[in-house]
Amino acid sequence: MKQIMQWLILAALGNSVAIGAIIAAQPDAARRAELIDLLKQDCGACHGMRLKGGLGPALTPDAIGRLSIETISATILHGRPGTPMPPWQPFMSQDEAVWLAGQLKAGVD
């Protein structure tokens, strides 16, 4: 239920509000480095260290660029039921997930 509420809230947010939140809530440099490391090492366990896919789908801009930041960050935080994608909420805040989603859409080296 909580998850559905969060999805609804996210869906209700306008794009401009979301973009404002991204700029306002950018994690600091040390935390950004940690999140990128987590992305490559631990998300990379299923999606590949270069994010080109594995048991999980590719996370390159080609593959997920069409998805909104809201969708991507909600997937990161809550996982995808019925698939092996777990919720990463215990390991990052919503702002951090939004930042990471932006990185994914833009492409991570």
Partner: protein, 395 residues
């Protein structure tokens, strides 16, 4: 100006001469060598496990974020299966890349056939298995997996070799096990077993080559095929081992590699539980469950069967636990640093090598005293593969 040019030449000369890339081939046996995968840099090291030193550094192996290795029967050549579909043949005595092909878009692992003629690779993209000549890596067979939509086939996982020049693997998306017979490579035979269970994520074969077992992600339990009696089909073992209990989110898939066995007791990782499963091989029933530090990734028995070594998924991947196989008690918990990714035993079991990704080293432990014996530098190391695997079915 002249002097500085001279010193520049000297520096370049020193760099060239000290580079392991120009090291000469070794005149020695290969039985105590190992290949250590450096996942972030797409490189590998050949190490001498007797003298505990690095012999060669090999670059240009592509994306090794997931990688595995099999060996030629003479233990001279290593075949490295990379994430990016790369298949690389490495000369262990010369430290050189003999040949590299990119045979698929995305792979998970491979196997070498019983007589060493064929290398099979398990691919996610395009979903299926390809078989190559071990000699020159030329394509022998392209076997697409079951289609799941117009342009996609099921991912294949858990590919192992089996006696009789056969390969066995599982289809992740469609819940199948396929048995591929390469005895006559001109007429390969495929036997398909369907509805084996939801989302098989990996597989293993017992060292005698008789039982193929696939772990299931989508449900509790394992699927087993008796290769002495394939006509009996696939049966379910350890059914519903976690029934009624809430499964935890899984941050890294367990690996079924080799066979953790002590006497008649088998040890397996429980998916989504902080537990090691203990099964009685006679009847394949659950005997016990051992509560451990996190979700197990590798559950490996020492070659003497005396102890089980376990590493764990994120966020508990800084820990190794050692379990006594008689009492089923944890006898030691070691914190070795973030990213303990793999463990490999010396063939006779006196030592174990452990990779610690974020510490940039591999460690060697005495399996009797559990004391550390050596530490070798390696860049973001993951898999450690000893050449002794050349002579083991399923490895």
């Amino acid at each position: 100006m002249r002097a500085s040019m001279k010193s520049l030449f000297l520096i370049v000369w020193l760099l060239v001469m000290s580079s392991p890339a120009v090291a000469e081939c070794q005149l020695r046996g290969t039985g105590d060598l190992a290949l250590v995968i450096e996942r972030a840099t797409g490189s590998a090291q050949v190490i001498d496990t007797t003298h505990r030193r690095s012999l060669f550094h090999i670059d240009g192996l592509g994306d090794l974020s997931h990688a595995s290795v099999v060996y030629s029967r003479d233990e001279r050549y290593a075949y490295v299966f990379g994430r990016d579909g790369g298949l690389s043949k490495i000369d262990m005595l010369c430290g050189t890349l003999v040949k590299r092909i990119v045979q698929g878009g995305n792979s998970i692992g491979g196997a070498i056939s019983q007589d060493g003629r064929f290398i099979a690779v398990s691919n996610y993209v395009p979903g299926g298995v390809k078989v190559f000549s071990a000699d020159d890596l030329s394509l022998v067979l392209d076997l697409p997996a079951t289609a799941i939509d117009a342009d996609k086939n099921s991912k294949t996982v858990g590919l192992v070799d089996a006696p009789g020049e056969r390969f066995v693997f599982s289809l992740y998306d469609t819940g199948e096990i396929w048995l591929l017979d390469m005895l006559d490579p001109a007429k390969p035979k495929v036997t398909k077993f369907t509805d084996v269970g939801r989302q098989p994520y990996d597989g293993l074969i017992t060292p005698d080559g008789r039982y193929y077992i696939a772990g299931l992600f989508g449900e509790d339990g394992l699927a087993m095929l008796d290769l002495w009696h394939p006509e009996k089909g696939v049966t379910r073992i350890m059914d519903h081992y976690g029934r009624g209990e809430r499964k935890l989110p899984v941050y890294k898939m367990p690996h079924l590699e080799g066979w953790a066995m002590a006497g008649d007791t088998a040890f397996l990782p429980a998916v989504g539980h902080h537990e090691v499963l203990v099964a009685d091989r006679n009847g394949w029933k659950e005997k016990a469950r051992i509560a451990v530090h996190g979700q197990p990734v590798f559950v490996m028995a020492q070659p003497d069967g005396r102890r089980i070594w376990v590493n764990f998924a994120f966020p508990d991947n800084d820990t190794v636990q050692v379990i006594d196989t008689e009492s089923l008690k944890i006898i030691k918990t070691m914190k070795l640093g973030k990213g303990v990714l793999h463990m490999e035993f010396a063939p006779r079991g006196e030592a174990v090598w452990v990779s610690v990704r974020d510490r940039n080293h591999i460690l060697m432990f005495d399996t009797r005293t559990l004391k550390q014996l050596a530490e070798l530098p390696a860049t973001k190391p993951s898999g450690i593969f000893l050449t002794a695997r050349a002579h083991k079915t399923g490895l």
